[in-house]
Structure formats: C-alpha cells, structure tokens
C-alpha cells in the first residue's frame, strides 16, 4: 500500500466531522435558549417509531424478494433489477404523488374497490408513512442483498444439493451468515434515511401527530431563527443515530468466504412450495414498486408530448455536472475511508464507519446553515454554492458507498491477502491486480447510487441557490410552485430517466470486465 497510505482516510473522516459536528457547533455559537420541549420529545419518539418500523418492514420484505429474484428466471428480470434503483432516487414530492396515484383516496386501488361497496382505503397516518418509506427503501435493501447472494459461491449450493440438505438447513448454513453480514448495515441505512424524513412523513402522516425531529429543526431555523434549538435537536438526532450505528455495525459479521465467485446459476431443483412462494412475492412486490413509477411515466409522457419546458435542458445539464462530480468525489472518499478502515482493528473500524455514516443522520438544514455561518465571514457562500452542493451530496452518498465497499474490501483481503503477501505484491500493483477486480462491482454500484442521489437532491441547493443556477429538481419544484403541474410532470419524468440512466450506466460499468453477471 505505497500510494494509499493512511493519510486520505483520516482526511475524509475529518471532512465528514466538520460537515456534521462542525456545522452543528457553528449554530451553537449564534445563540442559545431553553431545552427541548414536550412536543420536541414526542417528535423524537415518533421519529424513532416510524424509522424502526420502516427499516424492519423494508428488510423483512427484501429478503424474500431478493431470494426470488436470484432464484427465478423470468422475462423482464434484468429490467426489474435495474428499476430497483428508481424509487429510492426520486425527489420526495414526485414519489409521494406517484404513491397517491395508486393508494390515495383518488388512486386506482380505490377506483377498483369502491364499486364493490368496499369502504375507501385511507392510508393517512402511520400506514401511509410506512408505505412510502418501504417503497423508497425496499429496493435499496434488495439491491444490497442481491449483491450478498451473488457473493455466495455456487459450489456451496451444489454441495448443499449433493448432501441433500433441507431448505431450512441450507438457509441456516449458507444463507443466514450472508444475511448476518448484510442486514444490520442495510437496516441501519434505512433507519437513518427515515430518521431525517420530513416532507413525506408530514404529508402522509395526516397531521402534526406525525411530526419528526427534522420538522422541528426546520421550524427552529426558518421560522423561529432559534439556531441554538436547531443545534440541540440535531445533536439529539446524532446521538440516536450514533447509538443505532454502533449497535448495527457491531452486530454485523463478515460474510464467510470460500470457493469461487460466480453467480449461482446452477440451482438445485426446488420444491413446488418454494417456487410458489417465490412467485407470490414477485407478483406482489414488483407491482407495488413498479405501478407508481409507471403512472409517473404515463403522466410525464403525456406532458412531454406538448414539448419540453424551456430551461429544462440547461437545468438538466447543471444537475448532470453536479451528479458526476459528486459521484466521483464520493467514490474516492469512500475508497480512501474503506481502505483505511479495513486495516483498523474491529472496534476502531466500527467507530470510524459509524462516524462516516453520520452524514445520513445530519439534517441538511443544519449542515447547510452551519456551513453558511462557517463560510460567510471568509467568502460569499453564493460563489461557492456549486462546489458546496457537490461535496455535500458526495458526503451524503458516502455511507452507501462505504456499506458496499467495506465488505468487498474485507473479503478481498481475507481471500487474497496471504497470497499477495507470499507473492510480495504490494502498493499499486496489488491494488490493480488484486483489490480492484474484487471491488469493481461494488464501486460501480456506489458511483451509480451517488450520482443518482445527487441528481435527485433538493435539499442543499435550495439553501445556497445562486442566481441563475438551477438544478433539475429545483426547476421541477419551481414549476409546481407556479401551478404548472403538467410541465412539472414532464420534468419529473426526465429527472427519473436521467437518474436511472446514471445509476444503470455506472452499475453496469462496474460489472464490465468481471466474470460474474
């Protein structure tokens, strides 16, 4: 490891700590008043409840969905796996409208059931929030699990078949250890994403009962200008997320290795019961994920038929530039941190990754406002708006990149470390010949996620938005804010298509050149 000495890793960590704790501390310097009120604490309780449930349901459904996707071959399977990137990448308001087109009072489910005298479905409240959060995050967890399943050597399944293991024994011996490696981290990511949900939770929560900490932070910054209060709320959020991160990461066990890596395309014959179960999950969950997207697509296509809204290409170009820059920055940051992390002791590794993930728990309003306070005395935050947006987007995507890179790097080290050592392979040549091929796929996934996440981001840019610079989500939101809903639907479709294309291109890029599919 000549070129990748320990320096970049700690530098990345320092950057993350500045963006999170540094920004929060900057708020505390402005002013301070009282503590958290009773309604703040009930917001804390509600936030925890909905995040736990959202993460638990997403993970519980992702296991059978991923297993069915791995085991079954059907037309459109590849497209389905590609589309799994979509819900997660949509701007909140678009996804909510898509979901309501299916589940809402005026949605297609009610159109179907009400003629039969079945009372109208009302999703507002906790069910609506969970529905949306599962819609967002089930695909993400499924993607993580697909990767885990792909890492299980096909020989293990063949061996299991030869030994005549029952499905439950096979699950216990082969699949459970993989789940143990993936699920805690995936649960954590979903939990953190739902913690900072605000617009979704409020819109589908049916009223102020569904207040999350994030709303209280927004109120403190925007309406009360009580930055001290915002900082205290942010610290509460960090404490909860930090505890969750340490717990989840310490429960994670590395995926056992052995044999050769190849997609398990030779599967033992399955019983009819297993096949039925797989088909049932696919038949339920794929429409659940795809119908809202399809409706958004239809809506958008109809709108685009009357022409592109002027200004859209420019906004799309700005978004693409930011997305590519922040994806690159994010992947490099993640790689630096992951390489450092895998050489630390287990406990140190958990702490560093926990801190690296903290960015997800950070309120964009706190980070944005804190940075504003930090930068304002030195330079105009306006002039730096685009680089700041890029770096913040990169930092937000970092946890996802870490979660996919760290296990891959650990495995690479375990599998090839001793061999490289005996061949005296170090530094760049080791990275190129040994490390890179094993992390190429996770790198592609990480780049794709980071680019697409950045593409759909509406948080940071609104705080700094410099004159004349408009990202595509901002452009779309402004259309909606000016009654121009049809144009907005067209812009949303283009945004969805571009995000998905970015994700697909990188994800695919990572797969080229390796022997696995």
């Amino acid at each position: 490891m000549v070129i990748i000495r320990s320096a970049p890793g700690p530098i990345v960590l320092a950057l993350i700590l500045t963006l999170t704790f540094g920004a929060t501390a900057a708020l505390l310097t402005v002013d301070g008043s009282g503590g958290l009120t009773a309604s703040d604490w009930s917001a804390v309780r509600f936030t925890l409840l909905q995040s736990m449930l959202s993460a638990a349901i997403s993970c519980a459904l992702a296991i059978p969905l991923a297993r069915a996707l791995i085991r079954r071959r059907f037309p459109g399977r590849a497209a389905t796996i590609a589309l799994l990137g979509a819900p997660f990448l949509l701007p909140v308001i678009v996804a909510v409208l898509g979901l309501l087109a299916v589940w809402g009072r005026g949605g297609i489910i009610n159109d179907i059931i009400t003629p039969f005298g079945i009372p109208k479905l009302n999703i507002y409240g906790l069910p609506g929030i969970l529905l949306a959060h599962v819609f967002f995050n089930l695909p993400l967890v499924t993607r993580f699990l697909l990767q885990g399943w792909a890492q299980i050597p096909a020989t293990q399944f063949r061996l299991a078949a030869q030994l005549g293991l029952t499905p439950s024994a096979r699950f216990r011996i082969i699949e459970a250890p993989m789940l143990r490696a993936i699920i805690p981290g995936a649960f954590l990511l979903v939990f953190l994403l739902c913690m900072t949900s605000f617009a979704t939770a409020l819109a589908l929560g049916g009223g102020p009962k569904a207040t999350t900490i994030e709303l209280a932070i927004y109120q403190a910054i925007r309406f009360e200008f009580d930055l001290g209060q915002a900082a205290r709320l942010a610290l509460t959020q960090f404490a909860l997320c930090g505890a969750a991160a340490l717990l989840a990461l310490s429960l994670t066990r590395p995926q056992p290795i052995g044999g050769t890596i190849a997609t398990p395309d030779i599967w033992p014959a399955h019983s009819r019961a297993i096949r039925t179960q797989d088909v049932a999950f696919l038949a339920l969950l794929i429409p659940f994920l795809a119908t809202p997207l399809a409706l958004l697509g239809i809506n958008g296509t109809a709108a685009l038929a009357s022409g592109l809204p002027t200004g859209l290409p420019k906004a799309a170009l700005t978004s693409l530039t930011i997305a590519l820059a922040s994806a690159t920055a994010s992947a490099l940051m993640a790689l630096a941190l992951a390489l450092w992390l895998t050489r630390l002791s287990r406990v140190q590794g958990v702490v560093v990754e926990g801190l690296g993930i903290l960015m997800l728990a950070a309120s964009p309003f706190v980070v944005g406002t804190g940075l504003f306070i930090l930068i304002n005395p030195i330079a105009s935050p306006f002039a730096l708006a685009l680089p700041i947006t890029g770096i913040l987007n990169a930092a937000v995507a970092l946890p996802f990149a870490l979660r996919t890179l760290v296990p891959a790097l650990r495995e690479s080290e375990q599998r090839f470390g001793p061999l490289s050592q005996s061949l005296a392979l170090t530094g760049w040549s080791k990275f190129r010949l040994v490390t890179w091929p094993t992390i190429q796929r996770p790198m592609g996934f990480a780049l794709g996620l980071a680019a697409a996440l950045s593409m759909g981001d509406l948080g940071v840019i609104t705080l700094f938005a410099p004159p004349g610079i408009e990202t595509l989500p901002l452009f779309m939101y402004r259309l909606m804010g000016a009654y121009r809903m049809a144009d907005a639907a067209g812009a949303a479709l283009i945004l969805m298509a571009l995000s998905l294309a970015l994700f697909w291109a990188f994800d695919r890029g990572g797969r080229l050149g390796t022997h696995t599919r």
Binding site: P8, I11, S39, I93, L97, L100, G104, R105, G106, Y124, F198, A199, L202, A203, L204, G205, G206, G207, P208, K209, L215, A216, Y218, Q219, R222, F223, F225, T310, G311, A325, T328, A329, M333, T369, F372, N376, P377, F382, A383, L384, A385, L386, P387, G390, I391, L463, P466, P467, I469, E470, L474, Y477, R478, L479, M480, G481, A482, Y483, R484, M485
Partner: protein, 331 residues
C-alpha cells in the same frame, strides 16, 4: 485526492462567477416562484433595466420564511439590497433584526386592504386565503369554518411551522374567532385529511383528487381560467371573512446601492411593475393598474370583511396560535 476535489470545485466555480462590469448591480432576494422565466421576475427586470442604467439581479431563496432566515444568517454582509416577498406575518420579526432601513414613503394611492402605515416595508401585491374546490365534484361548498367542521369534506392544509400560508390560516381562524380559535380547530380536526410542508405539496395533492378542498388563494382560480381555460376550480366564500396575505418589499440597511434601491421601490408602485403582477404572480396589484384586470379576475370571490392581524399582533400571537392548532390536531 484533495487536489482532485479542489480541481472539481474550481471547474464548477468557473461557471458561477458572473462577469464584473461597470454598471451598478441591484440584488433582490425573493421567493423561488418569482424568479423563473414564467414568473414576474424576468419581465420586471427588463422593465426596470430600461430606466435604471443598472443590472437587476433576482435571487430565489426558498419561500418567505426562508428569505428572512437567509437575511438573518448573512447579516450586514449580505449582498442583497432589497428583500421582496415577505408577508405581514413576518415583517415584525424582520424589523426586529435591525437589518432593514426605512423607505422613503410613497406618493401613489395604495389599493391594499386596510390602511398602510408601515415605514419600513411597502406592499407590492396581495390576495386572500381561501379553500379551493372543484365545482363539478362539490355542489354546495361550506360557507364558514363552522359549516366546514360540520360537513364530511376532507381538506388539505399547510403546516404553520413550515409554511407561510399555513401560518396565515392559523391567523385567519384567530382573527375570525379570537378566544374560540382552539375550539374551532378541534371541530375542524376530523376534516383535515393531512398537513403538508408547503403549498406545492398540498395543491398537487388536491389536483390529484386526494381532498375535496385545499388551502390556497382566492386568486388561484384565475390561473386555471387564464392559463388552462379551466373554470372548475373555485374558491369557497366564508361568512367570517378571509385572511389577507399582503406581500411586501424592504431595503436593507447594509445596501451599497441605497438610492437605486429606493428607485426600485418607487418603480414597484408604478404601472410598469404592477401590471405584470396579476397574470404572473397570480395576485392583486397593490396599486390600481391603468388597464383593468383580466376578465377572469371579475369572476373571483370578493371576500368581506378582509381580515388581517396587524404585524405586531401577528408576532405576539404566533406561538400561542400554533400551539392551539397543534393541540387540537394532535388528538
């Protein structure tokens, strides 16, 4: 890697730095929907630049509340000369920051509900809050908050903790019912399908058929009539009167172009500015325009009385009014 980040930053930066010129620049912070090419911003910019020998720049900064918090964050270092887009529920807090300078008065007749006495802010447009419904789906809309509470209709409203119309609704109930506001909210609670972060979410949910009515403005139907030739969206007229949202602009104390800024405020009350407002910001002009308003505006309801809390009352009542709202809706 650090150099790479820097290089990326510089590349991005290159695009955002405006060319420096000799002509003075007047920077106006405003809300998001004012800036795009379909908003009033570009037309007003062109009209003012014809006379001012200056460069007028509009900067969009979220909504009204975001505008104020942005100004407070930037303090005296702000590049803004003028803030345009606060409403009277925020002006008292804005004055208390000491960041705004008094304006130089006005010499035209203002056409704004109530008497205008503010020495710091000048109005540029206004509209009333109203619940919008689709007349093809709802034949007999409620005529008061009490009728609404007694109905089986569903409404979508905005959260007063994150949205300016949401806050104005809380003031509406307060201005109409005073001490009884909490009780009115308890009656309305079952009618509230959901509460959204801002106007955009709520209005889109209404258009998608989620709720029977949505909190918006009396002027919203004018957009649908003029831009979409759709006259099905109508505002329900309430007996207790409708709350008024008056939008204002003010000059910043730290402006490096105070004279130019004053010129703009004067321009703001001329016909060149005011005639752009009705069909681009979808609100009533603050000064009678030379040509009458488009026909569609004659079909809009004309609420009586027009309710409006004074800026001082709004500031002192805000916390309590929000608490009452939250208490009633959290049950």
């Amino acid at each position: 890697m650090n150099t790479l980040l820097k290089a990326a930053a510089l590349t991005l930066l290159a695009g955002s730095v405006a060319a420096q010129t000799e002509t003075p620049t007047l920077t106006i912070y405003t809300y998001d929907s004012f800036v795009p090419e379909w908003g009033p911003g570009p037309k007003i910019e062109a009209a003012f630049e014809e006379t001012c020998a200056c460069d007028l720049v509009f900067v969009g900064a979220g909504d009204g509340a975001a505008l104020l918090s942005r100004i407070r964050l930037e303090g005296a270092r702000s590049e803004a000369d003028i803030v345009l887009g606060l409403d009277t529920s925020l002006t008292e807090a804005a004055k208390a920051t000491g960041l705004f300078a008094p304006h130089g008065g006005w010499d035209v007749e203002l056409d704004v509900p109530g008497e205008w006495t503010d020495e710091v802010f000048l109005p540029y447009d206004w509209s009333h809050l109203a619940f919008i419904y689709d007349k093809t789906k709802l034949a007999e809309p409620p005529r008061s908050f009490e009728e609404l509470a007694a109905s089986d209709l569903s409404i979508v409203i905005q959260d007063p903790r994150s949205s300016t119309p949401g806050l104005a609704l809380v003031f509406w109930v307060k201005a109409a019912y005073g001490e009884r506001a909490g009780e009115i909210w308890e009656g309305l609670a079952p009618r509230v399908l959901t509460v959204t972060k801002g106007w955009t979410e709520a209005y889109n949910m209404f258009l998608a058929g989620e709720a029977d009515m949505v909190l918006s403005y009396t002027t919203s139907p004018a957009y649908h009539i003029i831009a979409e030739e759709d006259d099905t969206k109508v505002a329900a007229e309430f007996r207790e009167g409708h709350y008024t949202q008056v939008e204002v602009a003010g000059i910043l104390q730290a402006s490096d172009q105070p004279e130019l800024a004053q010129d703009f405020l004067d321009f703001m009350l001329t016909d060149a500015f005011q005639s752009i407002i009705p069909t681009s910001n979808w609100a009533y002009p603050a000064v009678k325009t030379a040509t009458p308003l488009p026909e569609a505006f004659n079909t809009l309801i004309k609420p009586d009385p027009a309710l409006l809390l004074s800026a001082e009352d709004a500031e002192t009542m805000r916390k309590q009014a929000i608490t009452e709202w939250q208490g009633a809706l959290s049950r």
